[in-house]
């Protein structure tokens, strides 16, 4: 028993008998607690209060006041604890305010905290007194301890006293610029509080929000977006510049912030991107796994291609891992994001995660099932494979059962209806009668939706009519009524059967239903109907209103069809109805009488009575209760309640034309500006334009936005360097971030980024010098740069590696494609300019239909690709390019000799570019030449073997003139084996079997890394994964350049800067499985050298070793 439990015990006991009080104290003493002298005092006061329970409260408070005013900390604390106990119980303690507020400056942190609790609770009631405490908070706002600053701001902003609004405003502004991200986070919270206290401050608060949105701390992101949503959700323009940052930070934001950010970004995306849902275009569900690739493909085929904005893709990609969150709210938020934003064929990835949530708490199940119910109406296919997860258990709560039933009904189709009906049979027998009734309705819905089973269902329902439980029978009748209406065929038997049941059925709705059926189909049961009416006439007065109405109805209909037998009965019933208590029934009776009984007043209307009453009626549609819930955004409170909640924001519809995309580009900050002109020199006059055009083109470059995010990231890292004040925190955060979310390689390379961040400036200076030196020859230029800009390249590329790692499988994941793609992208504007002269670089809308990355018009794509090569030679921004350039003339291989090819000859080479089509493919360029004397038509690729081979074919070349040649690019997924890819090259007349056998070195792609990383990774790949051999080097290969040249000619790897002279290191990854391949060469005294290859792919290693050995041995 500790002291807090003691005091809690006291407060709860106050109302109880004094005897009980004593026992507690005795037991406390038995526990040998060192009780302070004040206990006796307390005891006195408590026993005193017990003796006069009426004003016990007051007396108790007097006592508390005394304790608060005493000089002992422990007494004060004790008093505060009891006061908090009072607050928690909802009892008033406001008269203690003056005594409490004095302690606001206490040194004891717990006492202080409790005083804060009290202040926040009562300041609104005692505004004047509350002002006494303000100066203490103002002082605390300047405290060196960030925790104290933050909590002072929290309390200050929580005191709802209008007078202090200016002070709060000032405090918020100051805190928003605080060095501690925790304080900044608190200020984001304070914004909302101030806004609710005084909405007039909106404009000023928006400024603070704008500032905080730029914050790069993950701690702040969630809170500021929350403030944004509360204060100015319509100021979408504030988000633009921060959009990519938010997307990239998302994984690291705390879970609650994730929910808020995701829902805000959903809304944002709906206003900024065009709809990915193609009108009329149905996708193959099984196409989904191509992911980004499929988009390219359909672009080729469809008339008006839809190209997803790379930012749109970025959002989808970065939210996907969150489906694995343990927080159900996050999973739901991602699910709704995909539902509202993703192309239709991608939505189904959320299914599994949603089904997983069904195992969570009852309340979670409830919400998730509601959302699944809405989803399952539109997209049956999504949940159909999981149908068994929706089977009802007898232990489920009623509302869970009904929702599951709803979903099962939505999912029913021809294929699974028999299983579902079998389940339903079990449910009908449930002891939970409300649930059984709901099941019957569900059966009815299945029967109307699936015509194959209508009869089965109907028969089943008729069987239920003999059920012992009345509720079941009644529900069956109601459902049968609806079913019969949809199938007005020969169901006379069923109607007769129901008529027989009529006497036993007491549930009004069921009785009314039978009566209606009798009336509607009275011609089918001409003998029974009048008899039923006769019975009704007897009991009319005792019936429920709804039954009475239907009786009147039946009477009228029978009067019209069979007036001979029923005239008197009808008149009797109409008379009864005329004097009924219920005005509805009186009205109805009067109306019917005028309508059917011909008299002088009724006039023309009675002629039409038959047509009015016995008109064929449209069958009711049995719809899901969730039918129109999709008007609300999924996962919202409004969706759950099916009504618009306060503060609900409609999800906007997609814009027809996407707004300017360049608004999301982030200005390039200092360090990059220096880098830009170097690249810019190649083609573009202005570096600024370059950057914009970069991003514009990106959207064609499906999924290759790593350049955008990369540059953004590097800008962010560099700006953190600028704002030196917080750089320490930031960088430590950075490295933690990667270590927490990135894989093996990047965890190391991140280190280099933070290093390079710090000495970036230094390097830049040296680089400039190098640049000057390296001008003269292209060769030395590239070599210089092999060492020079690596630091910088690795800073940007390793930054982006954490992004590219977040890519979906099909996207590029390793470091190297990022910079390379950048060069491709850069190449594009030029191509575009060539092909379409009037395209201005900044005009986005015009630009989008321009060349897509898939080589649609093949001529364009050749020139594009050849341009890319040209560029990559001159364009030196990373180690990757070094490899391409130093390699010099490409090795070209013969694919088809013109003799065997009847005039068609083909050659191929490996351009060593990352493949555009799929990252796991190796890019191959094929040069087709027509050396015959007639034009060749329809050159394309035919059968492939092995069948599993994944080849991205070039588009059919319609016509190749004699003597002309064309370069086309293909992508082949060799799956990291040197097995040849066999396929047929076809023309209109002929087919030629050809094969491409890749050298092992072509199955790699360069990987940038630092020496430390290299050694670290090498350390992990020891033993079985290491292959080494001593080789003899040709004397010509003694220099480092020569070694580089030879190695790079054999293998597409990247050089790793080495600090030791006798060591050369190269890093690469296999294209298909991204396994690391590390090559190191240690030169010994003589011409010998130790060549070591570390990789998991031991077969590749030995082959590579052989090739390298050969290459290095020859001059």
């Amino acid at each position: 028993m500790d002291c807090s439990s003691m005091d809690a015990g006291f407060s709860s006991l106050r109302s109880e008998a004094a005897g009980a009080m004593r026992t507690v104290l005795v037991s406390a003493e038995n526990l040998q607690l060192t009780l302070k002298p004040e206990l006796s005092q307390e005891e006195q006061s408590l026993t005193h209060t017990n003796s006069s329970p009426k004003d016990s409260h007051k007396a108790g408070n007097e006592d508390l006041k005394e304790m608060l005013e005493s000089s002992k900390e422990s007494l004060k604390l004790e008093a505060m604890k009891r006061i908090v106990g009072l607050i928690a119980k909802g009892k008033s303690a406001s008269e203690l305010f003056p005594a409490v507020v004095k302690n606001v400056a206490s040194k004891n942190i717990e006492l202080k905290k409790l005083v804060y609790v009290y202040l926040v609770r009562y300041a609104e009631e005692q505004q004047d007194l509350a002002l006494l405490s303000i100066s203490t908070f103002q002082r605390a706002l300047k405290d060196p301890n960030q925790f104290i600053r933050a909590s002072a701001l929290r309390v200050l902003s929580s005191i709802r006293v209008p007078i202090i609004v200016p002070i709060m405003m000032l405090a918020i502004k100051e805190a928003a610029a605080d060095l501690s991200p925790y304080v900044r986070k608190t200020s984001a919270h304070a914004i909302q509080k101030l806004y609710s206290l005084d909405p007039d401050q909106k404009e000023q608060l928006i400024e603070v929000i704008e500032k905080l949105l730029k914050d790069k701390s993950t701690l702040v992101a969630g809170s500021v977006v929350m403030a944004f949503e509360e204060v100015c959700p319509d100021r979408i323009d504030l988000i633009h510049k921060n959009y990519r940052k938010l997307c990239n930070l998302l994984v690291d934001v705390e879970e609650w912030g994730q929910v808020v950010i995701i829902s805000m970004l959903t809304r944002y995306a709906r206003t900024q991107f065009t709809s990915p849902w193609m009108e009329g275009a149905e996708f193959d569900e099984n196409k989904a796994f191509y992911d980004s690739d499929s988009e390219e493909k359909k672009d080729q085929t469809e008339a008006k291609p839809y190209v997803m904005d790379p930012d749109h893709r970025l959002l989808l990609r970065n939210t996907k891992p969150l489906l694995q969150s343990r927080n159900t709210a996050v999973v739901m938020a991602v699910a709704q994001l995909y539902w509202h934003l993703a192309p239709k064929h991608e939505v189904s990835i959320v299914t599994k995660s949603l089904v997983r949530l069904l195992r969570s708490h009852r309340e979670v199940q409830y919400i998730v099932l509601q959302n699944i119910a809405t989803m399952s109406i539109q997209r049956k296919g999504m949940f159909e494979p999981f149908i068994k997860s929706f089977y009802v258990r007898s232990t489920d709560a009623t509302h869970i059962k009904t929702l599951k039933l709803e979903i099962l009904t939505n999912l029913a189709n021809e294929a699974n209806i028999s299983t579902i009906l079998r389940e339903f049979q079990t449910y009908v027998k449930s002891q939970d009668k409300a649930f059984a009734a709901a099941t019957i309705q569900a059966i009815g819905r299945c029967a109307t939706n699936i015509s194959e089973v209508t009869d089965t269902c109907l028969n089943g329902l008729v069987l239920l009519l003999s059920n012992r439980d009345e509720a079941v029978v009644a529900e069956s009748i109601v459902v049968i009524k609806k079913l019969l209406q949809t199938q007005p065929t020969q169901h006379g038997d069923i109607i007769k059967h129901m008529a027989k049941l009529f006497d036993n059925v007491t549930v009004p709705m069921a009785r009314a239903s039978i009566l209606w059926l009798m009336g509607e189909y009275c011609e089918k049961v001409p003998k029974i109907a009048p008899d039923v009416l006769r019975k009704m006439a007897k009991t009319f007065t005792a019936e429920e209103d709804i039954v009475k109405l239907q009786t009147v109805n039946l009477a009228a209909k029978l009067y019209l069809t069979n007036s001979k037998q029923t005239k008197l009965l009808t008149q009797y019933i109409l008379n009864l109805g005329k004097y009924d208590q219920n005005y509805d029934i009186r009205d109805r009776t009067r109306f019917i009488r005028q309508l059917i009984v011909p008299n002088e007043k009724s006039g023309a209307l009675s002629k039409y009575a038959r047509r009015m009453l016995l008109a064929p009626k449209p069958a009711p549609v049995l719809e899901s209760a969730f039918k129109d819930r999709d008007r609300y955004q999924l996962g919202t409170l409004s969706h759950s309640l099916n009504l618009k909640a306060t503060g609900y924001q409609e999800l906007p519809d997609w814009p027809a034309v996407a707004p300017d995309q360049s608004v999301r580009n982030v200005e390039i900050v200092e360090p990059l500006r220096e880098w830009a002109p170097i690249v810019g020199k190649t083609k573009q006059p202005k570096s600024d334009d370059k950057f914009y055009s970069d991003d514009e083109d990106e959207k064609e470059e499906e999924g290759s936005d790593s350049s955008g995010s990369g540059s953004e990231d590097s800008s962010s890292s560099s700006s953190s360097e600028e704002s030196g004040s917080e750089s320490e925190e930031e960088s430590s955060e950075d490295s933690e971030k990667t270590s927490s979310d990135s894989g093996k390689s990047s965890s190391g390379s991140e280190k280099s980024s933070s290093e390079s961040e710090s000495d970036q400036k230094k390097k830049k200076k040296t680089k400039k010098a190098q640049q000057k030196k390296s001008k003269p020859t292209a060769d030395s230029d590239s070599d210089e740069n092999g060492n020079g800009p690596v630091g910088q390249a690795s800073s940007s590329s390793s930054e982006s590696s954490s992004d590219s790692e977040s890519d979906s499988e099909s996207d590029s994941e390793s470091d190297s494609p990022a910079p390379k793609k950048k060069t491709e992208v850069k190449a594009k504007p030029k191509v575009a300019v060539n092909s379409k002269k009037e395209v201005s670089l900044l005009d986005l809308d015009d630009f989008s239909p321009a060349p897509t990355n898939a080589p649609k018009p093949s001529v364009l794509s050749q020139s594009l690709l050849s341009d890319l090569e040209g560029l990559s030679l001159s364009n030196i921004s990373s180690a990757v390019q070094v490899t391409t350039s130093s390699f010099g003339p490409l090795k070209t291989y013969e694919l088809l000799h013109h003799m065997t090819g009847k005039g068609l000859s083909a050659k191929y080479h490996f351009p060593r570019q990352p493949c555009l089509y799929q990252p796991s493919m190796v890019a191959v360029q094929v040069i087709l030449t027509n050396s015959s004397d007639h034009a060749l038509e329809e050159i394309h690729i035919g059968d492939q073997s092995p069948a599993s081979l994944n080849i991205h074919c070039f588009n059919t070349i319609e016509r190749l003139e004699p003597g002309a040649s064309v370069t086309v690019s293909m992508g082949i997924d060799f799956s990291d084996s040197t097995q040849a890819a066999n396929f047929q090259l076809c023309t209109k007349e002929d087919q030629f079997s050809v094969s491409i056998q890749p050298a092992v070195g072509e199955l790699l792609m360069p990987s940038t890394m630092t020496e430390q990383d290299f050694c670290k990774e090498q350390g992990k790949l020891q033993g079985m994964n290491e292959t080494s051999a001593t080789i003899t080097m040709a004397t010509a290969n003694a220099s480092r350049q020569a070694i580089n040249k030879q190695v790079l000619s054999v293998a597409n790897v990247g050089e790793v800067p080495s600090s030791q002279n006798n060591f050369s290191r190269f890093g690469g990854r296999t294209v298909s499985s991204r396994a690391l391949v590390l090559v190191s060469l240690e030169l010994s005294e003589s011409s010998g050298a130790l060549l070591t290859i570390n990789t998991e792919k031991s077969v590749m290693a030995s082959m590579l070793l052989r090739d390298l050995k050969q290459a290095l041995a020859q001059a």
């Binding site: 928690a88 994984v251 195992r359 009852r362 068994k388």
Partner: protein, 418 residues
């Protein structure tokens, strides 16, 4: 977001209220009580309710209602998840989440709630962070505090709050470094009358108790990671690493936590460990019924089935049961109509059997449906899906930790229809 919180016991008394914005009168709960009344069973209260000016979102945990008052649109799961997190925190702090424990620790509870939400938005929900700010109660500390005037409240901002790994506190030190992992799998199944499996799923969870000094970086790999097609992780797990290599790589929180949960839904992978032969009949004449249940092992992978228990929720008409069990003993609660047969260890040589007669209320029609059987069981040293941890490696620290993995299979929602 969350405006106020009320804690309500099963009798309908509000015993704690906390407001994060202006005070809302507790009369708002009347709407809830109305719904509570209508639902009869507390389990059936709809979690989301609407009142003229507010929205009420509630959860039911440990016979307590956590009722939150909302004023504007907010994702309901956000609130529900948070409320469960509050309940979890109480559990973590006080060992249980009940009315008596909460009223006993009212001040700590209040301080916790104050830290967990700021202006209705979650601030710190990580148990490690909270424990640094507000120390959990224990006898020794309270004695020391009364003597020295110390407090339960931390004075500095916990490191975790600022770092990107908020789940781990800095400067952890242990004399014995150990890491234990419990792989628990629960079988959810519906077996129909004829003994065929209607649906079966495995819900797996890996609970960890990690007491390692410093900043250890752990890697756990599985023999057969392909089994796991749907998983959710503690935030500490590096998702990329899982995607690419199917290993769990993480810097663990200190103490107990749930590392991952997984879900195996494909039915052919799910082994059903026991079969049940049952016949329950209610006779029209003589107002009595007959019950005969036998349980035998089916796919137990050579392990012993323990803690076997059968629970039957009898129809209202059943007054009493007069049964004989060959093994274990049974109880029948006349008020809740629960028949519980506690069997214990399943002996394959001598199958446990429960048979006898049920006395029924006269004059009431016989129940339509036979009650379904809920089975509880436990199999030690076995993960029924076949999942196996192949190794656990630690990087970043020098010492050699003691490692252990324990497997257990339980019946989750295992239901046999009759």
């Amino acid at each position: 977001m969350i405006h106020s919180l009320f804690l309500i016991n099963h009798l309908g008394d509000i015993f704690l209220e906390k407001h994060w914005k202006s005070v809302i009168s507790r009369s708002v709960c009347d709407y809830f009580f109305e719904a509570r009344e209508k639902a009869v069973d507390p389990e059936n209260v709809p979690p989301v309710l609407q009142t003229p000016h507010h929205y009420l979102i509630s959860i039911y945990r440990g016979k307590l209602f956590f009722l939150s008052v909302i004023q504007t649109e907010v994702p309901p799961l956000f609130v529900i998840e948070f409320l469960h997190r509050v309940a979890d925190t109480f559990q973590d702090y006080f060992g249980e989440c009940s009315e008596s424990v909460i009223t006993d620790n009212l001040v700590i509870v209040y301080e916790l709630l104050e830290e967990m939400l700021d202006n209705g938005f979650p601030l710190a929900t990580e148990s490690n962070v909270l424990k640094e700010m507000i120390r959990p109660p224990n006898i020794l500390r309270s004695v020391v505090n009364t003597l020295t005037g110390g407090s339960n409240v931390g004075e500095t901002l916990p490191q975790g709050q600022l770092s990107n790994i908020p789940w781990r506190r800095a400067g952890v030190k242990y004399a014995n470094n150990e890491a234990y992992f419990d792989v628990t799998e629960e079988i959810d199944a519906i077996v129909d009358k004829s003994g065929t499996t209607v649906s079966a799923e495995i819900q797996g969870v890996i609970e960890a108790c990690v007491k390692l000094s410093g900043m250890p970086d752990l890697t756990m790999s599985f023999m057969n990671p392909r089994l796991l097609d749907d998983v959710s992780f503690h935030p500490c797990v590096r998702f990329r690493r899982w995607e690419s290599e199917r290993v769990l790589s993480f810097i663990p929180p200190d103490g107990n936590f749930t590392l991952m949960t997984y879900h195996i839904s494909s039915q052919n992978l799910v082994a059903i460990p026991v079969y049940v032969k049952q016949s329950i009949n209610f006779f029209e004449a003589g107002s009595c019924g007959r019950l005969d249940i036998t349980i035998g092992p089916k796919q137990t992978m050579g392990k012993t089935v323990e803690d076997l228990k059968v629970t039957i929720h009898m129809p209202k008409a059943v007054l009493n049961a007069n049964l004989t069990a060959t093994q274990g003993n049974y109880t029948y609660d006349c008020t809740t109509k629960m028949l519980v047969w506690d069997i214990g260890k399943l002996n394959p040589q001598k199958l446990p059997n429960l048979r006898g007669s049920l006395s029924m209320q006269t004059g009431v029609p016989n129940p339509e449906e036979n009650p379904s059987l809920n089975i509880d069981l436990k199999i030690q040293q076995l993960a029924i899906s076949g999942l196996k941890v192949s190794r656990l490696d630690m990087y970043g620290e020098k010492y050699k930790p003691f490692k252990g993995v324990k497997y257990v299979t339980k019946a989750g929602k295992f239901q046999v229809r009759t």
